[in-house]
């Protein structure tokens, strides 16, 4: 293997018998909560990560206990749409097998944390019973497909959802490993001839070089952050109907501190396609990345680097060659912002008298659905589900929408929310537009707190906002515990990225509509420094912003940071405060 330069994961995948590895055996080993090293990589494809509680790492050894291992499970819910029945099932699982919370992610789905090995299989089966799964929610495959929030909002949203669901199914791995290991499905093949009998027409034995993410936007909302993903579709709408799609490729957030060859990147415009071409185009983008992507260095294996290295033109040409048709010129469109409009909202087609139903978008701080004294969010949502008053939609901003609500159900829902202390009020627009990744204690890559820290930081910054009178101004702020960018911080007007416990890099200057990346403004800032740096900028913004000027644009105009016009310029002309 000496001259084999491939990344270790490539060999693991190759030897895994289509993602089986020794997972089944590992589940049988009762003396440890861990699984085999290589299986750590394989289980991702099944929608799960092995983690350990980092809060207690210090004490375990002297208590003669191994690390406090448990599994994170991520569901695959295209477009984030769930029935009330499914919600109830998911809620049950949270308390029966997980840590009692449901965690809405930044990609329209749920995660469970704290599922121990002995419960993993039963949890998978419970999820399956709810007609859901975790297949390909993680791993080097096409991940959960995000579509513009709420399929019920309009005809176009429904069309976006239908495309998203179709793509998710079309690009799903075909291996029988998942059913075999978790659902006691009949063995697809004996150990020997895995690759032969159980084949992956799209993925082969090596799958993709890296994760692959697909989203679908319906302007003017860019809630899915189209520029942050490998593959994106922007709905081109005429008379409320989708007539075709602008296709974007090569977006991504992840980077590594100190490695300038890695950087977040906003997606490029690939071209325009008709509805019936959409799936084929997606498939070809995926297979070209499969064949061209970097399989030696996982830090540069995402599609965004393939585009950087091979060039957009070459990539487009190859896609068109494989698709057998040329892509059209992108059509004009306009995005207004990336946030979720909170509160009640009626279907857009209502005026046309088609669908008069209502939709309530609830702010869920950092996506963590749990009961707190005074606000029993989890119980409340469950009560609503049990009454069957709505469908549920997980958004790309870690929020939840109670969708497709009749006028009659609306009043009932309002009563239940009240009874559980659930309000649509948020203390400030800054908080309403904020996101934080999970980070500690479960995330193995976290360098600093995020989900557990941001709410308190915002409370402090709200004092500064008051001084500037900006409490009701929309400013997008996102935090992550490491540079991987799970809350898309480089597309936030104010971005925090953890470097060390209590210390964050501060990024400014991203566009409110998600079309421009931010730039590093301060390094290793603790809370005091953060407040000291931001308060004067808030003041200045309040005083000297132009009419309608967004905070991110102001930071660039006022010269706090230079504009980042392309991903490969992310590390260029930085002036630290």
């Amino acid at each position: 293997m000496t001259d084999d330069k491939r990344a270790r994961n490539e060999i693991i995948k190759e030897n895994s018998r289509q993602l089986r590895g020794t997972l089944a055996e590992g589940l049988q080993d009762v003396v440890t909560g861990n699984i085999a090293e290589d299986d750590h990589q394989l289980i991702k494809f099944h929608g799960s990560y092995i983690q350990d509680d980092r809060d207690v790492r210090g004490e375990r050894a002297k208590k003669k206990l191994e690390k406090a291992f448990s599994f994170m499970l991520r569901l695959r819910i295209p477009g984030g749409l769930m029935t009330a029945k499914q919600w109830i099932a998911l809620d049950d699982i949270a308390s029966t097998y997980a840590n009692g919370t449901l965690r809405l992610t930044t990609r329209e789905t749920f995660q469970y944390h704290g599922v121990i090995k002995s419960n993993l299989k039963r949890t998978m089966q419970a999820i399956n019973k709810a007609a859901l799964d975790t297949i390909a929610a993680c791993g080097d495959v096409n991940r959960n497909v995000m579509t513009a929030a709420n399929p019920h909002l309009s005809k176009a949203h429904r069309q976006a959802y239908d495309l998203g669901k179709a793509i998710s199914e079309h690009l799903l791995p075909k291996t029988g490993a998942y059913h075999e290991i978790w659902l006691d499905g009949e063995k697809v093949e004996d150990k020997s001839g895995a690759a032969k009998k159980d084949t992956e027409p799209l993925y082969g034995v090596h799958y993709l070089p890296r994760k692959f993410k697909t989203v679908i936007a319906v302007p003017p909302d860019n809630d899915v952050d189209i520029y942050a993903h490998d593959l994106g579709y922007i709905a081109i709408i005429e008379k409320g109907e989708v007539v075709g799609w602008n296709v974007t490729i090569g977006g991504g957030m992840g980077m590594t501190h100190g490695d300038l060859t890695t950087y977040p990147r906003t997606a490029d415009m690939l071209g325009y396609c008709t509805p019936d071409q959409a799936i084929k185009v997606g498939e070809c983008v995926l297979t070209v990345q499969r064949d061209w992507g970097n399989r030696e260095n996982r830090a540069r294996a995402r599609l965004k680097y393939t585009i950087e290295d091979r060039g957009l033109e070459a990539f487009r040409a190859e896609v068109e060659r494989r698709a057998g048709f040329k892509l059209g010129k992108p059509k004009p469109f306009k995005f207004s912002g990336t946030g979720d409009p909170l509160g009640w909202r009626q279907s857009l087609d209502a005026k046309k008298g088609e669908d008069k139903n209502w939709h309530l978008t609830l702010f869920v701080e950092n996506g963590r659905i749990k009961d707190r004294p005074g606000m029993t969010l989890r119980k409340g949502l469950r009560a609503i589900a049990e009454e069957g008053l709505c469908e549920f939609v997980a958004t790309s901003n870690q929020n939840v929408i109670l969708a497709n609500v009749t006028a009659k159900a609306k009043t009932k829902i309002e009563a239940i929310l009240k009874a559980h202390g659930i309000t649509t009020e948020v203390s400030s627009r800054l908080r309403a537009n904020s996101m934080a990744c999970v980070a500690l204690p479960t995330c193995g890559l976290a360098l600093a707190e995020s989900e557990r820290y941001l709410p308190g930081l915002i409370t402090r910054l709200e004092d500064s906002l008051d001084k500037a009178g900006l409490r009701d101004d929309d400013i997008v702020m996102r935090m992550t515990g490491c540079p991987n960018g799970c809350a898309r911080p480089y597309l936030a007007e104010i971005g925090f990225v953890g470097r060390n416990p209590g210390l964050y890099n501060l990024y400014l200057g991203a566009a409110f509509d998600g079309s421009r990346l931010s730039k590093l403004y301060a390094q290793d800032a603790g809370e005091e420094k953060i407040v000291a740096l931001l308060e004067p900028i808030f003041m200045a913004y309040a005083k000297s912003r132009k009419a309608g000027e967004r905070f991110g644009d102001f930071c660039v105009r006022a010269g706090y940071v230079k504009a980042t016009l392309a991903g490969n310029q992310f590390h260029a002309d930085i002036k630290l405060a």
Binding site: V30, G33, V56, K62, L65, T96, S118
Partner: protein, 593 residues
């Protein structure tokens, strides 16, 4: 090793003559020995005339010593009694009820019984068959029999010395004559028991023994004239060892509902030895705050010297019937006395401690009066969790903290909180060894062992495996462990992982009751794995059960019976017989508490 009287080194003979005589004596039967005794007695009587055999040297009286013992107290008392019997000219045989039957009783002329009470007024497990037979109609008349019973118990239990009492009454009912009155001993039984034994054997002894007759030459055995049946440990309740606490760790992870302390005790004393399966006794001290409450309740709050005395030496928690009785007598409180009527006691005593009595019926008293009410502070036993071979100069314990809230008070177990709360690393603790001959690894290291334990019941198995590693034993081993949650309550998890990796532990099955909706306990795992268990047993496996009696051992026992019954094609009696065989053969051993 049976006990033949040997001439002590301090006998009035030359050493080589002592050896020579002992060679002969060693082979003698009781009859021959009595004959010799009679012969020389006759010779002496003949005023130095020509030696001639005494016409008929009457044989010494036979004595049957019977014991019912779980943790060995009655057993060692019985073995001590055998030695004492020699002095009284009695020819004693000692029987464990486990190996005795009614025929033996029918034959017996003189009988001494040492009986412990377990469970809630139950006989020790190994004695159950004999006990039931004795209580049944099958029991023979015992008219010619003279007997005496010593009962061991613990006043902390409502059914104090129940088994001893029942046996005593039953023997009388069957027509036997009581030679000495029964005595019911509390945990501090040592002195009382020795005195009773001497007295009772004196009464049973042939009338003409002792000074009045010369048939037996009285010999002072204190010199340790013969091989002891059992090597009494050098360190005992009466004579504990000061050991240093060299490690003190709560093994349960943060967030656990459990609190289980791993305690390492270090000592230089080479005489302090133990074997895996033994228990280590800890002489605790009371929580000074509790003692202070108690003293204040009786108006002795300011007496610091008294506080220290009580803290170190007296039981201030056990709310026994006896305590209430004495309290009522002393104070003349009729209302307190009422607590002894009907189920009033059980109602009041449940979840309460002695201090509640003193506070409820607050009565002033003198220090002397108070001490008169308190029994000595008993030691607490802990199965040793280490092998002395693997950890020379150390003994490890696994101590579950006993805590509960009741009647507005935070309650603590005396010894467990003494170790968990009031001791820290580097402090000393007074300990002793409590051998347990009935919880031992098989002599043959190639025999498979199946170890079943929940919670602290896993402790001795850590010692077992360490011992087997040191001995290079090749036998297979299988651990069944149960607790509440995998993540935080897997006691000694890393040790088990190492032993498995090293091949020292062959199988492990775990049952964590609170990790999933339905409760899973060790007995469920046993049942799941019954096929293999049956194989192992067929291959001569030894079965061990350790831990909580009520919480686990009963259910495990029932499940093992089910498993053996299944192996016997569903014939439950055959299963029961098999389980008994295993017990008798020492292949099914329990250490439950």
């Amino acid at each position: 090793m049976t006990s033949i009287p040997m001439l002590p080194k301090n006998a009035p003979f030359a050493p080589e003559d002592i050896d020579a005589l002992n060679k002969v004596v060693a082979k003698t039967t009781p009859l021959q020995r009595s004959w010799l005794a009679g012969f020389f007695a006759g010779f002496e009587a003949a005023q130095g005339g020509a030696a001639q055999p005494a016409a008929a040297a009457k044989p010494r009286l036979p004595l049957t010593i019977l014991y019912a013992s779980e943790s060995g107290n009655c057993e060692s008392l019985a073995l001590k009694a055998k030695k004492v019997a020699q002095k009284h000219g009695l020819d004693a045989k000692v029987y464990d009820m486990a190996d005795a039957d009614l025929a033996l009783l029918a034959k017996a002329k003189n009988l001494v019984v040492y009986a412990a009470t377990w469970g809630e007024g139950d006989p020790p497990s190994r004695a159950i068959d004999f006990y039931n037979a004795l209580m049944s109609d099958a029991a023979p008349r015992l008219d010619g029999l003279r007997f005496a019973v010593l009962a061991l118990g613990d006043t902390a239990y409502a059914q104090f010395c129940e088994v001893g009492k029942k046996i005593d009454a039953r023997l009388e009912a069957l027509g036997a004559t009581r030679a000495a009155d029964r005595v019911d001993c509390d945990l501090d039984f040592a002195k009382q028991a020795t005195a009773w034994t001497d007295g009772a054997l004196g009464k049973l002894a042939p009338a003409d023994t002792g000074a009045s007759s010369a048939t037996v030459v009285h010999v002072d055995f204190k010199g340790g004239g013969y091989q002891a049946d059992d090597d009494e440990p050098q360190f005992s309740v009466e004579n504990p060892l000061e050991a240093e606490i060299s490690a003190l760790v709560n093994l349960n992870g943060t967030g656990s509902t459990r609190e289980t302390w791993h305690v390492e005790l270090a000592f230089q004393e080479p005489g302090f030895t133990y074997l895996p399966g033994d228990a280590i006794g800890v002489m605790p001290e009371n929580d000074p705050e509790l003692v202070d409450q108690l003293l204040r309740a009786v108006g002795l709050g300011s007496d610091a010297a008294l506080l220290l005395k009580v803290q170190k030496g007296y039981d201030v928690t056990t709310l026994s019937k006896a305590a209430i009785e004495n309290f009522a007598k002393l104070t003349g409180r009729a209302d307190a006395k009422k607590l002894l009527d009907g189920d009033a006691y059980t109602k009041f005593a449940a979840d309460r401690q002695l201090v509640d009595l003193f506070e409820t019926y607050s009565e002033k008293m003198t220090a002397e009066q108070l001490l008169g009410l308190l029994r000595p502070l008993p030691g607490r036993l802990y199965s040793v969790a280490s092998s002395l071979k693997a950890h020379p100069g150390e003994a490890h314990l696994l101590v579950g903290a006993v805590r509960w809230d009741s009647y507005g008070k935070k309650r603590k177990g005396v010894a467990s909180s003494y170790l968990a709360d009031r001791r820290k690393m580097g402090d000393m603790a007074r300990i002793y060894v409590k051998p347990n001959r009935h919880f031992r690894l098989p002599e043959d290291g190639n025999k498979p062992i199946i170890m079943i334990g929940a919670g602290t019941g896993v402790a001795p198995y850590r010692g077992f495996i360490e011992e087997r590693v040191e001995l290079g034993a090749k036998g297979k081993s299988w651990l069944f462990f149960g607790e509440r949650n995998f993540t935080n309550d897997f006691l000694y998890q890393l040790d088990w992982q190492d032993h498995i990796a090293a091949g020292a532990l062959t199988n492990i099955d775990v049952a964590f009751s609170r990790d999933q909706p339905e409760k899973i306990y060790v007995q469920h795992r046993l049942w799941e794995r019954r096929a293999d268990i049956q194989k192992w047993v067929a291959d001569g496996a030894h079965l061990y059960v350790c831990g909580d009696e009520k919480g686990m051992a009963k259910d495990v026992d029932a499940t093992l019976l089910k498993i053996l019954t299944e192996a016997a094609k569903g014939d439950e009696d055959a299963g029961r017989v098999k389980l008994k065989e295993l017990t008798k053969a020492g292949r099914y051993q329990r250490d439950v508490y």
